[in-house]
């Protein structure tokens, strides 16, 4: 994937580094000469100097062929405008903005920014999930059994929130194995465990029932 990052500060730098290691094509747009030079020396010529909110810079950066556009400067207004330009002018399919003020999340969403977040790890998660809009991630196959281990993240809109595991209409042949909840130790789900938004559910399923499992856990 071709990923353009606006802002070469701490977040942008380490994000680029991680994405390069994963084999992506990465370009950082950074205004500050010293920072740009350092990035180019350390990560190998992947930084262009310029203003990520200037159309000419974005043209030079080839943003129109970018698969993903990530704005991680320290200022919400710059991240907003950079992403809006990428989205409306350059038709980038997926835009991600770092926000400092959580109250801005609603505005950013309303204005068409696909993802808003505040941290390198969260950004990385969104990029590394092969199909970011799909809340089911394939973790591993169990050979010869036709089974697979998957992760389903319970979206905030899911109808499964507040339900007990025993009340979910899970497809036969699939089983919830682990629930990872923010700030808590992973738990083995009991029939009476209640699902919450943001839960990461690790489940075993057959490939035929994968879609039904996803629907049972994440559909509205």
């Amino acid at each position: 994937m071709y990923i353009v990052i606006v802002g070469g500060g701490g977040v942008g730098y380490y994000l680029a580094k991680a994405l390069l290691e994963e084999g992506h094509e990465v370009l950082i747009i950074e205004q500050n000469r010293t920072i740009a030079t350092t990035i180019n020396d350390e990560l190998g010529g992947i930084c262009t100097r310029g203003d990520g909110c200037e159309v000419t810079t974005l043209v030079e950066a080839g943003v129109s062929r970018a698969d993903m556009f990530v704005a991680v400067t320290g200022e919400d207004q710059h991240n907003l405008v950079a992403c809006q330009l990428a989205k409306t002018k350059f038709k980038v399919p997926r835009t991600i903005a770092r926000i400092k003020n959580p109250k801005n999340e609603g505005l950013f969403k309303k204005l068409g920014i696909d993802v808003t977040i505040s941290g390198t790890n969260v950004i990385l998660e969104h990029i590394t999930e092969s199909v970011p809009t799909h809340p089911l991630t394939h973790l591993m196959d169990i050979p010869d059994r036709g089974l697979e281990v998957v992760e389903v993240r319970i979206p905030a809109s899911s109808g499964s929130i507040g339900k007990m595991v025993k009340d979910l209409s899970l497809p036969g042949g699939s089983m919830l194995s682990l629930i990872i909840r923010k700030g808590q130790k992973p738990v083995i789900p009991l029939p009476t465990t209640v699902l919450m938004a943001g839960d990461q559910v690790i489940a075993v399923t057959s490939s035929e029932t994968e879609e039904a499992l996803r629907a049972a856990l994440s559909a509205k």
């Binding site: 909110c53 200037e54 207004q77 405008v81 809006q84 109250k103 505005l107 309303k110």
Partner: protein, 133 residues
């Protein structure tokens, strides 16, 4: 008489605040730096408020919810763009006007439905007319 909130009390913002106030409108002007209020006329009867126009709480304090017109004239194009979109899409201010120096950005946001003005193109056009006239 209109209720107007102006974000940015620089030369343009303060001048505008002064003439709107003199014309009898109800004006609130915001700036992150209280020192910029020195530009307001001693006769200014409106409100001057220290606050960041891209902060929803600050906009509320400035009376954005009752405002009929919101004008963003800080030095930062992106700041103006963000505040203007907040006023328009979150607070549903009936008329929102946004200054954007960068002509390219101005054009894009105009097509996105924002009422925008680029002093850069206006002044350049004026100069061109003088050169040619």
């Amino acid at each position: 008489m209109k209720k107007v909130v102006i974000m940015g009390c620089g030369r343009t913002g303060s001048w505008l605040a002064n003439i709107l106030d003199a014309a009898g409108h109800s004006v609130t002007v915001m700036d992150v730096d209280a020192y910029s209020f020195r530009r307001l006329s001693p006769d200014f009867k409106g409100k001057a408020l220290v606050g960041n126009g891209i902060d929803q709480e600050a906009l509320k304090k400035a009376g954005i919810e009752e405002a009929e017109v919101f004008i963003a004239v800080t030095q930062g194009d992106n700041r103006n763009i963000m505040a203007a979109q907040m006023a328009k899409h979150i607070f549903n201010v009936p008329r929102v006007i946004c200054r954007i120096y960068d002509p390219l950005r101005q054009e894009i946001y105009q097509t996105l439905g924002l009422e925008t003005i680029s002093p850069t193109t206006i002044f350049a056009d004026m100069l061109k007319k003088r050169v040619e006239g």
